[in-house]
């Protein structure tokens, strides 16, 4: 008698798989049409070629750069809200000097997950999303070079986020299972508590903490690094190979330049992080000694980590610079001042970013001569940043400035970037850094940049391109209120932190001396203002995308007037015309945005005069 045990598992699996394939094949053949009949082969082919699947299937199977861009943006926003909840909890804990709500353990977990979530899963995915949607349009490409790799790069991110943040969820599931008497199942889940080694994962702490959730988090971070590298390669190849005939290097738009540089940095930085993470993983689980005292020691981890970690800062900020340089001229009524120098400074930052990592290690035992050279480069990197800032100011100089919501955010972003940048110049100096190291001054400094120009340029871009994304217009007054609230919240919260740091309070502690209470409460109030502005943004965005007034005229921002009606808007105009049959408004020769781009003889030549401006005011 043949028992089921004697059949090899592979055969069973194969039979099962074949059955599944057969079922799927049959079901596919018998799919009914809307009129109740079955499709003929030719009808099926037409369907495949011309239509996207409907509903959820569309979003799970898409390889279209616009859909993937939206997926990236939605994912980034969800991650930002989750990481933002962490931040609100941190600030709430710090309202009183002693224990307010949670103990130190939860506080440590919170600032770790806040940092990891925001750096890995919010900032870069959102910029990749914006670039995925608009970069091919800006350079006149049909799609990204490798659409499928693009989709894979995105779909690696959700599992990474779950792996990194899993500790909290499994804790709850574990407690639930325990309460219904399934302790055996609950035990492994309860062993996974939230990671609390801080986002820098310094050894020897990260290599010696027993919590197995750290291993899962390391795998998740590694996965997200792979995703980023794949995305970066895709952007580089797309910009090199897919440009339209009339898009030369000389007239490539500024956002594509910054995305190219960002991707270049990511290509060199992320593999280093990946290797370091694997080494740490091996140290924790397989007895290697890369970061043990008898091996490379704790300093090796810091070198490897910051060789990624500091360029990462520029990976995040360069797209923000790009968006600022792109949007600012539109509402200043002038071309970007010194386009070439903005490009050169972008490239300079790209190169210099790899020469500044050891400024995070001024308080360690690194050789003073090495430190001095890193101090020199760290101060030098302020120069290209300042070039940009002055060029932005000059762009606005005697321009026709329109204070729309995106413009308010861009100007606010430049302002906060100046505060964040100047405080950074001080920190680049070794003696100053020795005093301020690991105080709230550092937190204030980098949040002025991250919550300032980085987040603000994202929100500005979301408003600026809202009509293209949704074909609708948002509530402009609500958006202006939101923009101002965000700027006020950021300034209040992080100025208070700079002051707290000046007074010498170290960061990363749940409890603090009572004399800092008022300043911490001010910082918390600022954080709540930021949360309010985020809430207004979501309400405006969701509701306007559903029911906002339809855009009829593609020239929402009167860009034709100043000759800045660039390729993505021309694409939008074609869409409107094809889909709705609206007349285009009188074509003016599209003048180069900066340095002569967008000659675009393929559009803008079909207008039959007048009309069309029945759409939106601004």
């Amino acid at each position: 008698m043949v028992s089921i045990d004697s059949i090899p598992g592979v055969v069973l699996g194969g039979v099962l798989l074949a059955a599944l394939v057969a079922v799927g094949y049959l079901r596919r053949r018998r799919r009914t049409m809307a009129d109740g009949g079955y499709p003929t082969p030719s009808e099926r082919e037409t369907e495949l070629e011309t239509e996207k699947p409907f509903g959820l299937v569309r979003w799970f199977t898409t390889v279209d750069h616009k859909d993937i861009g939206i997926l990236y943006i939605v994912f980034g926003v969800v991650a930002a809200l989750w990481g933002g909840t962490d931040a609100m909890m941190l600030r709430t804990e710090l309202i009183t000097p002693g224990k307010t709500i949670w103990g130190t353990e939860t506080y440590n977990g919170l600032f770790t997950t806040h940092g990891v979530t925001m750096i890995f899963f919010f900032a870069l995915p959102v910029f990749f999303g914006i670039a995925n949607y608009f970069l091919p349009m800006l350079i006149g490409a049909d799609d990204m070079s490798f659409p499928r790799i693009n989709a894979i790069a995105f779909w690696l991110l959700p599992p990474s986020l779950v792996l990194v943040r899993g500790g909290l969820i499994t804790e709850i599931i574990g407690k639930l299972l325990e309460s219904v008497g399934l302790s055996a199942l609950a035990y492994p889940l309860l062993a996974l508590t939230p990671i609390d080694m801080s986002w820098t994962m310094y050894t020897p702490m990260s290599s010696s903490l027993a919590n197995p959730q750290i291993d899962l988090a390391l795998l998740g971070l590694h996965l997200s690094g792979i995703a980023t590298t794949m995305g970066a390669i895709n952007f580089i190849v797309t910009i090199f190979a897919e440009r339209a005939d009339d898009v030369e290097w000389a007239n490539l738009d500024i956002f594509s330049w910054t995305m190219l540089t960002t991707s270049g940095i990511a290509l060199f930085a992320f593999p280093v992080l990946g290797s370091a993470i694997i080494m740490l993983f091996l140290d924790r689980n397989f007895g290697t000694t890369f970061f043990a005292l008898e091996g490379g020691g704790a300093i090796l981890w810091q070198h490897l980590f910051w060789f990624w970690g500091h360029p990462e800062v520029y990976i995040l900020v360069l797209p923000a610079f790009g968006l600022t340089s792109l949007i600012l001229p539109k509402f200043s009524g002038r071309k970007l001042f010194g386009f070439k120098f903005i490009v050169y400074s972008t490239l300079a930052i790209g190169v210099l970013s790899f020469g500044v990592w050891a400024h995070h290690m001024f308080t360690t035992s690194v050789d003073p001569r090495v430190k001095a050279s890193f101090m020199a480069v760290s101060i030098a990197i302020a120069i290209p940043s300042a070039v940009k800032t002055f060029n932005w100011m000059t762009t606005m100089w005697s321009g026709n400035i329109r204070l729309t919501a995106p413009m308010i955010l861009i100007i606010g972003g430049i302002g906060t970037f100046i505060i964040g940048g100047v405080t950074g110049v001080f920190l680049a100096s070794i003696p100053v850094d020795l005093v301020f190291h690991d105080t709230y001054y550092i937190v204030g400094h980098f949040h002025f940049i991250i919550m300032g120009i980085i987040a603000m340029s994202m929100v500005a871009a979301s408003y600026y391109w809202f009509p293209i994304l949704t074909r609708r217009m948002y509530d402009q007054r609500l958006a202006q209120v939101q923009a101002v609230l965000l700027i006020v919240g950021v300034t209040v919260s992080f100025t208070a932190m700079l002051v707290i740091g000046y007074l010498g309070l170290p960061r990363r502690y749940a409890y603090y001396p009572a004399e800092f209470t008022l300043l911490h409460q001010v910082a918390t109030a600022g954080a709540y203002i930021i949360a309010l502005s985020v809430f207004l943004w979501i309400v405006n965005f969701v509701q306007s995308a559903r029911t906002g007034p339809l855009v009829m005229d593609a020239d929402v921002w009167n860009l034709k007037e100043s000759g800045q009606f660039t390729r993505e808007w021309q694409w939008f105009e074609r869409q409107l015309q094809e889909r709705r049959g609206f007349e285009r408004s009188t074509p003016r020769t599209p003048v180069a945005e900066d340095g002569g781009s967008g000659g675009s003889s393929d559009v803008g030549d079909g207008g039959e005069g007048g009309g069309g401006s029945d759409g939106r005011d601004d």
Binding site: D86, M89, T100, I172, R471, R579
Partner: protein, 150 residues
């Protein structure tokens, strides 16, 4: 698709309650079980400690009771004719009741988080309920046309 109002409302209630439950569980996850919203409901109805009772009550109210009330008084809720916006307004009233009843033993700064987060969760509940209701009732939801297909 035209369905009767009760079916549409209950479908909306199911979707909205799912979203609200998810968000409240996420709140429990984030705060490491400081708030225990369902326990609080159980205490409120006089069966302290019986989380299951609290949860069951929460589901019945969210799926059946509130959506029916919503349908009955919809004409008097501002921000029409968009049922999603009306649902969000309606949910704010529910949130006031929830925030007061559910506060329980919470006091001090965590109340700020609790209030803000449950407010957001309730808005999401009302909004989702309204969207699904509008979808099942056909019309009133502005069509997004073929544009979404591009």
């Amino acid at each position: 698709m035209e369905t009767n109002r009760v079916t549409g409302a209950i479908a909306g209630g199911v979707a909205g309650t799912a979203v609200l439950t998810l968000l409240l569980i996420l709140l429990e996850v984030q705060t490491r079980e400081q708030i225990q919203a369902f326990d609080v409901i159980a205490r409120f109805v006089g069966t302290p400690g019986q989380t299951t009772v609290g949860f069951a009550l929460f589901v019945v109210a969210g799926v059946v009771a509130w959506p029916l009330v919503f349908v009955a008084i919809r004409d008097y809720i501002p921000r029409g004719p968009d049922p999603a916006a009306q649902g969000a307004i309606f949910a704010i009233v529910l949130w006031v009741a929830f925030a007061v009843a559910g506060r329980g033993d919470l006091s001090g700064p965590i109340l700020i988080l609790y209030a803000a987060y449950t407010f957001f969760a309730h808005l999401a509940y009302g909004f989702t309920m309204g969207i699904v209701y509008g979808h099942f009732r056909g019309g009133s939801q502005t069509s997004r046309e073929v544009y979404a297909q591009q």
